[in-house]
Symmetry: C2
Subunit: 575 residues, 2 copies
Amino acid sequence: MNRTHNNGELRITDVNKIVELKGWVAKKRNLGGLIFIDIRDKFGITQIAVKPDNANYEVANQLKNEYVIQVKGKVIERESKNKDLPTGDIEIDCIELKILNTSIQPPIIIADNTDALEDTRLKYRYLDLRRPCMQKFFITKSKITQAIREYMISQDFLELETPILAKSTPEGARDYLVPSRLYEGEFYALPQSPQIFKQLYMIAGFEKYFQIARCFRDEDLRADRQPEFTQIDVETSFLNAEEIQTIIEGMFKHVFKKILNVDLKTPFRRISYEDSMDTYGSDKPDLRFGMVLFDCANLFNHIEFMAGGAIKGIKVENANSYTRKNLDELTNLAKKYKAKGLAYLRYQNNELSGSIMKFLDEAKQKEIISQLNLKEGDLILITYGKLKIVQISLGALRSFIAKKEGLLDPNRFEFAWIVDWPVFEWSEEDNRWYASTHPFTAPKDECLQYMKTNPEKCYANAYDIVLNGYELGSGSLRIYNQDVQKLMFETLGLTDEDIKNKFGFFTEALKYGTPPHGGIGMGLERITMIMTNTDNIKDVVAFPKTQSARDLMCESPSSVEEKQLIDVHIDVRKS
Amino acid sequence: MNRTHNNGELRITDVNKIVELKGWVAKKRNLGGLIFIDIRDKFGITQIAVKPDNANYEVANQLKNEYVIQVKGKVIERESKNKDLPTGDIEIDCIELKILNTSIQPPIIIADNTDALEDTRLKYRYLDLRRPCMQKFFITKSKITQAIREYMISQDFLELETPILAKSTPEGARDYLVPSRLYEGEFYALPQSPQIFKQLYMIAGFEKYFQIARCFRDEDLRADRQPEFTQIDVETSFLNAEEIQTIIEGMFKHVFKKILNVDLKTPFRRISYEDSMDTYGSDKPDLRFGMVLFDCANLFNHIEFMAGGAIKGIKVENANSYTRKNLDELTNLAKKYKAKGLAYLRYQNNELSGSIMKFLDEAKQKEIISQLNLKEGDLILITYGKLKIVQISLGALRSFIAKKEGLLDPNRFEFAWIVDWPVFEWSEEDNRWYASTHPFTAPKDECLQYMKTNPEKCYANAYDIVLNGYELGSGSLRIYNQDVQKLMFETLGLTDEDIKNKFGFFTEALKYGTPPHGGIGMGLERITMIMTNTDNIKDVVAFPKTQSARDLMCESPSSVEEKQLIDVHIDVRKS
């Protein structure tokens, strides 16, 4: 018996048809002898009716939730229609009913609303994924992926594979290692990204590469990270940064139109890294709302404890309802981002009040009200000290308040390119320079002179794409000159020995006519999360790991047989 | 300066256009002052002409092979046209010439014909991949992949991801292990295939899954194997084997039409495993030629050393030129496949001759000529003994001779489904039963009764797809009943403890309304090899490993820092 229809498609126009359905028992009700069964598949739910005199009544009576059944029957009009269900005008008068498989009582409710704990959902992930809301996440993710492919291929890109069994080059995040069986004491590593391989594709002349590529990082996980994730990986030869950005804008335009029927306006805004930090206190600004940072050093640098560094503020409008407790909360948040403190001023009934009033004489107050253009209900939040800390702490307050005030419309999509990034970042902790992204990012030509002497003056043709406060991806033009690449490695403190061992083959490759090239890598999960309006990455990874990198369903990682360890020449270290 | 055209597209109709090109110097010739440069990119080659009075003459003179250049110039008609080149009617009169990057002398010739050793090609893979013939392999592979996706998506399949950091379940091939940092002494494993996860997708109700999935096997490599490879992985619910096969036939029809413009006839032939062995001596028969096996026990079982088992033969036509040396070669081949010996008979000038003539009286000879319908020049090759060995050795002879005789037309594509496979295989070596494919293959209902007592009588709803003597993929209906799954594991000798540790979560999952399901996994590299007519898997893997699982370019695997080993709680074993 074959299925004639899925469980989401029968309508009143199908009345009198003989149909055959398959699926899971979502609900069974026995109404004084008459049995109603909701049969569910990924397309929807259809109601089956079995009358007491029906030959299948006994079978129907045995059914429990999540039994797999097949049903043959006649489509009839329902007496009491269900307007919440696309198939709610009809039901199936049962002719044949067969149980394909049974089910014991599931530990979680198979419906959009579930009260199951996350650990239970992860352990029984195959049941959790039966819930219609979960199915939608993965259906959408699959469609996003294909829309990306469609577009990239339409732009003459080739999808090309790169190895998963790669080489360990521990710069940045920690590698996952794979011990080799044939070479005692040697290891493969899972790639943190296909960076080097995609650049080699450019050196090999492929010109336009993309890949929906799995990447791996053995890092302590945050809520929005997974040990393995999927990157939309792109690399091109002979194009400049604007041209690469235009391709990616076209990709998002296509994807948002196709999946959400949203028309994105292109080109996206370009904001320099320094401007973004200065205006939004973030390198991934949420542009759905204002509340921009302003400089107010001239108003407050007479106050001793605020003076000597940057002084900046943001203005919260209609903030009369903010209590002392709210302000304490904001102060704690600012301090979490290392601000020395949070000064605030409120403007109510034409009067200023707040934490620094005793330092403000009447003239100063007037100057503040005028310069900051204060209106009834305005609240000014001010941080001071080191510029970067002032920016970041205000940026955090800005985001926190926007969320609290409901300014984050999930149906608005404000893209931007953050451009002109510093090439290097100084680590106080390690007392050395690190690459802001990775050591293949090309410094701008005019900055090359500073590489050795003033790394902080080096800016790159690097560009992040941001959306609604999230970084979607990070790209740059790459170094294609072997001498610049060597200079870069040296600035990062790599010895000749290090360079040879880790990147020898790559610096060698650069010698053979490497074309100018650049690209970008973007997080598929992040994009899917925003497009499906969830903030839990586990909603878009079908079989995720917990925050401690465990698969609760498979119970992995797990111990293995001694023989397996012997085969690959390793031993568990005694701790 | 931006490119206006690629290097493969300019034609006589473009004459007088001012164009801008980028690419690599493929060749430079200095003809008495006039310099000709061939500029190459992945699209083709265009000739640049630089006259002695040209302002760019000095730059042109500096050029060496594989320099990256950009050229602006006017398209002019060539004096002596090159018919071998699509752009051979024109050349570019140089206006501007700029060197984008230099190159040292490449260690291999960048052209279709190269005399470089494979090790050199692999070490400088980025140069090897610049060769036009290599580019074509990967362009085709990329197109095949996308054609597969197009078709599967058109059939309502979702492409869904499965984890690479999975669990070790060592049944069959050896797992690659990944030590865990957070769980001392525990390991992830790279998946040998997404088998369990795709079945869990079915249990989760996704119904139609596919994935172009990376798989990993730590096995000793044969010429056509790589440690990581790509599988076209498919799984469906509620369909029977024929329905699944029909979908896959549609897929190949689409792919072959799109890539090779070849119309495949569907449905493909179905041949049972036993028939295939009996007729072709192979479970992956090459159907482009006949030379089928025939039974001839009645003709020869009076000969003592041949009697007591199967006696089968094949007929080679027009074999008069076969020498004694040829026949010795065939005998050695038969023996390699464990045949006790090879008997042969030739029919020349209306007379039989050969190795067993002394056992054949005149009546017997007549019987042979008549029953085998012998014609001038026929050669009969006969093996005898254990049925399976008789079949396999003749199958090997059949393939060998077909290749030698040039019967293997690379432009013919003879697909077939080999169906009804035995569930189990007996291992003499280990004195136990193994699963012929994997332990999730469903025995046919009527065979369930034999599971415990007569495993050799169990056949499965399993199907391999074969093409021109290669196995492209292997599929089956799966076990969806938990008791059958348990019985299967027990037959394979797994203890309750084993089952619980390795597959506990999976047998648990089967309890919650598992739908009937089945699928297939097919090798993308194998398909690409046949479609691009190469027999070297390294031609279709961009960055392959050697037969000893080494990446000669990256020099991986490699030793790692002690700290990395400490982090993941392992030590290299002292040997």
